[in-house]
Symmetry: C2
Subunit: 252 residues, 2 copies
């Protein structure tokens, strides 16, 4: 089940390891990535940890299920999806990741990645060698705690998706999805109402446990009801209140 066209044979992502420029200590994402009050010395140690950067073009894969696990990746710019696939070809999108979010946590369990991470647009990630992260965090309680919180947050997020998939109807799912995107964009200083979707209807559907047709129909209905304005992947949230009421089950 192809999800994103990859016309060229898609070689490995270009390893742009030129350091020099941006470091954690003056990265504008550091509040999202590792929101703690670190000292300058601690930042220096972080900067040493995160030395490499990777650039990926739209459609390229950061890692695949089965690849040996060596590092986590922090999204610097761009947008990703992660997906797992079953034997019989069906696949499930397990998440969409934007700037400041971490990729690869699932690989720790078995020393190999358990999902595919695909760039949905031109993207850049910071490479965090995992064994070094573990070493550093042993002498650095705040970092340790922060890392544990990030893993736990991923578990909580997954439970939210389970609730969405297990007990919400189509419209509620899409509403929850849009509001979630909106919140995350707002937290990054973008407009919470003007969304530019980076993924196709099919990818949304595969995430929400719906078909692409159902997703499209829901978009249309929301537009008719004056909740959204939809022009392809350009979506404006017109009536956030109603959207929120939808998620809570009130069929408003």
């Amino acid at each position: 089940m192809a999800t994103l066209s990859t016309p060229a044979p898609t070689p490995a992502p270009t390893p742009t390891s030129p350091p020099g420029a941006v470091a954690c200590s003056n990265c504008n994402l550091r509040e999202l990535c590792l929101p703690m009050g670190f000292t300058p010395d601690e930042f220096a140690r972080l900067d040493a940890l995160v030395a490499t950067r990777l650039t990926l073009k739209r459609g390229e894969t950061l890692f695949r299920s089965g690849d040996p696990f060596r590092a986590l990746y922090a999204v610097r710019t761009g947008f990703f999806k992660t997906r797992i696939g079953s034997e019989d070809g069906r696949d499930q999108v397990t998440g969409f990741q934007m700037a400041g979010e971490l990729l690869g946590l699932d690989g720790i369990s078995s020393d190999q990645h358990n999902c595919d991470a695909v760039a949905l647009e031109h993207s850049q990630v910071c490479v965090i060698p995992f064994s070094q992260l573990e070493t550093l965090s042993r002498g650095f309680p705040e970092l340790q705690r922060q890392f544990h919180k990030i893993m736990s947050r991923e578990i909580v997020r997954d439970h939210g998706v389970m609730m969405l998939l297990g007990s919400m109807r189509a419209e509620e799912r899409l509403a929850a999805f849009l509001l979630n995107l909106s919140h995350r964009l707002k937290a990054r200083g973008f407009s919470p109402s003007a969304l530019l979707l980076r993924m196709s209807r099919e990818e949304i559907g595969t995430y929400l446990g719906l078909t692409l047709e159902t997703v499209s129909r829901c978009f249309s209905r929301f537009q008719e009801d004056g909740i959204l304005e939809v022009r392809q992947r350009q979506v404006s949230i017109v009536d956030q209140t109603t959207l929120e009421r939808l998620v809570s089950g009130a069929s408003a």
Copy 2:
């Protein structure tokens, strides 16, 4: 939406902190709980960490969403479910936990628990004070690594549930659920084919994103097809191969 009867007002679980007896070092679950080759000295430090034990009766709650998070809990004996609830009353069972499995990982993210953990039968858990676990693991790389693997495994498990909820049909979901139970029982030395379900049809349904009627009907159909033998909560797997084929999407 009541899931388990709790006739008595259910006070806090009885805190049986009598140490002395069983310690991690000679716990027969240690392969499941912390499967590493620890030295005697390392075991001694673990034993000091896990000093308290709690006993819960069927229907009692170990922790609730919103409770302050202070410890993780390792199931020693018994069976639990975890659930999250939405504002409008719908709840979602996020997992069933048996001996050797950890409860409470979701609480790390926000310093308070994000789900309810309910004992489905008389159960005993080991209390693992979290800040002590973090402290200990800073001087104890194998423990640190093991803990990270456990968290990551939970993420991988959740992704599996997302795939189940997002892309499987009712029969496939129930088949996957039963096979999962079977594997976990086998890993604990129990029969992988004779299952005694600790949860109601409704709880299974709430976990699998189905109604209790659908769960019941699937059980009946599996019995008609000679895949299972079902007598209430006493379920025998007769034809494991067909069950496995069901999960892979081949409609047998």
